[in-house]
Symmetry: C2
Subunit: 486 residues, 2 copies
């Protein structure tokens, strides 16, 4: 047994140089000439603060977590030093607190237009100010409420260590504020019918009614749990979250009115027409819809600080490998809920799901274990060999002979190369199979490797998934949806 | 050492009879004839659910708290059995979850008027619905956000056991959502100047500007901490919260449009005129202001479920004396924040402070200890005598001779009968004094008594304080404020 890793000092020059820049960005809306999207500057400033806060607070508060018994052993290492667990709580607190401080900024342009006559002539009584974009504020607040509930529930999960099967539906509770506000505002429950189904249904829009609410709550459950089950090795949770967040940011940027004019050769990707990105306000891929720009701005306000927090946290969880801190369930709950929030509130849930391709694959692959067809041990992380420092696919032993259905499923998965079976030489009965996770699939297909390499493979897969998602969204989607494909 | 108290079974007839009644109340707005204030029925129904949930869930979840090491010894008892601590978290979760489920109900009357044409003709795109009272929704959501943050911070306080001096400003963080939304909406920062000060200032309204925000955050800090420092004996936190909540409810009811017509003989209390309560919509003490009715309805929506939760929790924390569960800091944070929220959002913070008279007294009395003039031990609860089962005033010993200032303050408090000093017979130097809390004052003035009796004295004082508050608010306030005194 050797000692665990020591925290590494941070280059303080980062702090010194970035803080004034962040402050300048935050207060940019109050300096003239006012930029066309003033709040976006502030959001970027807050994101830098989020990055710095995560970078410095995560190691600083690690000790407190260990004291409160929130610590874990790194299962894939030789040392026994307790690693502080549940640092996702710190990330979530930074993230939510900064989002709360950001509340007034999206309305700066409104103050400019209406601010002066309010402060002078407003009557003493009055809960409401006329014409204020309260609906945007309500949207923002309900999202924050869901994020905060996700944090709370994730933290309770970390404290009380809720069993796997019971905690699956927990994110539904966190999505209730979203649903209630959506219902209170009598939000739109229509969806566009894909072209091939239109002759069948005889219409272009279909009202899903209560099913729409079910869809929304399932989306938040999926995005939360799918990150949570693709976990277990240093940096896996945070790298997934970071890449998905960056993909959402990239997608949002396409809809913004860029001051420069450029074209994306989408016809190369299979689209029927070129897409012009740029021009004046309400240009970009928003095709003149101010509402679409507002939605994607909303998404950016939630995603940019998340990118900041993830980057700061990733430094301690992966970049200075091995991990000095663990994220805990709180991290997965908050990031998952943040993605669900932007997908739902900014109305691009289908696009969002495309960024979850590796997670969807991992979830589908896990189903036989999640639903009891194949035994599911408490930990499905790859097996660590302390002598070679390499990870090997972890295996699950069948204590009872597998049922007929299990055998068929496992043989099919084995044929696809997604699991490795150990078969009794005489009876042909399955004795063992590798655990059904994407991490084990990597190890089965690419051979054993060390932990850092495995996360790099995961990161590459996630990036490849996002590239594919963009191709599908802006290339192939034209085959099943017409119009501007909002 | 004897064994601690066993949980007592609950009369299940309560559950059976109240549940259908609560369900009927909740769905009352959808049954015709629709009552004039439909959401109030639903709120009452949710409050009954809150009561039942607290009554049944608090003992059920006590074991889980003990398992997660959230337990404490009752300092004023002879047995050592660990009592589950931090059950305020369960209360807060019930309270907030029900408030979230209640979100659509305040808008039922709006759906009746506008609902039909939305579901038919609404375009497929669109984040916003025109004319919807989004400002009310934003108000409601920001309040929920503050409550949830208070829960989170209270729970963190319970887990990490933050030191007394550091945790004083924590509620300020929870009030940030309130402040930010108030700022985002450019809320009113004017206050009415009391009559005697008007000649001095030369105006009837004065703009406090940033000071108003300071006032709001200090209010939430005060209401939270003042309940927290008047704690330590079974039932003290919950009985305070219950009586304050009931006082706020009573005050709100005065402003509602009552279907019956009655008069309050306010001239007996020193007011210049009689106040008519009752009549049609927008009558009551709201004097025809629909906005005032809306504000007090808002307050009722938050207070009624709080009353329900407090009643249910009180059963286990005091009524089946001794306490089977402890509230933890979470309970004080959430109730304190709930009071701050209604005081700020419904604009009756001055009236609210009047309901905190015993807390204000306790806070002022505690100041010499809080600010270091007199030594402050970790616990200031009365001293328990296991032989007689009585509580005696607890004393603090001066390790160093008290400073001149301390001596003057303590002698003054002793003259007023608020502390008992032990004085060196020769030098006249103060050797000991009783801890400066209202509970010790009761014991000094009324003699030693048992714990249950002491809480009863506290409850009576709190009720007397509320009666005095109503006299001051509706009697004496006429002397310093004119008009309708909203």
């Amino acid at each position: 047994m050797t000692n665990g890793p020591q925290p590494r000092p941070l280059p303080s020059v980062l702090l010194l140089s970035l803080l004034p820049f962040a402050a300048w960005l935050i207060f940019r809306p109050f300096l003239s000439p006012v930029p066309p999207l003033p709040a976006l500057h502030s959001s970027l400033g807050f994101s830098i603060i989020a990055f710095l806060a995560a970078l410095y607070l995560v190691p600083a508060l690690g000790g407190i977590m260990v004291k409160a018994n929130l610590k874990g052993r790194d299962l894939l290492k030789t040392y026994d030093t307790p690693i502080p667990e549940c640092l996702g709580l710190v990330c979530a607190s930074i993230y939510i607190l900064l989002l709360i401080l950001f509340i007034p900024f999206p309305f700066t342009s409104w103050y400019k237009e209406h601010g002066s006559n309010i402060s002078n002539s407003k009557p003493a009584e009055g809960i409401s100010v006329p014409e204020f974009p309260h609906h945007l504020l309500a949207l923002y607040l309900s999202s924050l409420l869901s994020l905060l509930m996700a944090t709370m529930l994730g933290f309770l999960d970390d404290i009380f260590d809720i069993r796997w099967r019971y905690k699956l539906p927990i994110p539904i509770i966190a999505s209730i504020p979203l649903l209630m506000v959506y219902y209170a505002e009598q939000g739109n429950t229509y969806v566009v019918v894909p072209l091939p189904l239109r002759p069948l249904l005889g219409r272009t829009l279909v009202n899903l009614g209560p099913l729409y609410y079910l869809y929304m709550s399932l989306l938040s459950t999926f995005s939360t749990n799918s990150i949570n089950i693709l976990a277990g090795i240093n940096g896996s949770e945070v790298s997934q979250a970071l890449i998905i967040a960056l993909s959402v940011v990239l997608n949002d940027l396409l809809y913004l009115p860029w001051p420069v004019d450029f074209r994306i050769p989408l016809h190369l990707l299979g689209s029927q027409k070129e897409v012009e990105v740029g021009g004046v306000w309400a240009a970009g891929m928003a095709y003149g819809s101010r509402e679409l720009v507002e939605r994607h701005l909303f998404s950016l306000y939630f995603m940019l600080p998340l990118v900041g927090v993830c980057l700061g946290f990733m430094y301690h969880n992966w970049y200075v490998y091995p991990a000095r801190v663990f994220p805990g369930d709180t991290f997965c709950y908050v990031t998952g809920m943040a993605f669900a929030v932007v997908g739902i509130q900014a109305h691009f849930s289908k696009t969002l799901l495309l960024f979850f391709l590796p997670q969807i694959f991992n979830f589908l692959l896990s189903c036989p274990q999640l639903f009891g067809l194949v035994p599911c041990p408490r930990h499905r992380v790859p097996r660590f060999d302390p002598n070679t420092n390499l990870l090997h696919p972890s295996k699950v032993l069948f204590e009872h002979p597998p049922s007929h259905a299990s055998t068929v499923v496992l043989r099919a998965l084995s044929l696809l190369g997604l699991t490795e079976l150990t078969i009794h030489p005489n009876s042909g009965q399955i004795l063992e199979c590798t655990n059904l996770t994407i991490l084990n699939v990597f190890l089965v297909r690419l051979g054993s490797m060390n932990e850092k390499k495995l996360v790099q493979v995961l990161i590459c897969t996630q990036i490849a998934g996002s590239v594919l998602a963009f191709v599908v969204r802006y290339g192939l989607a034209g085959l099943v949806y017409d119009g501007d494909r909002r």
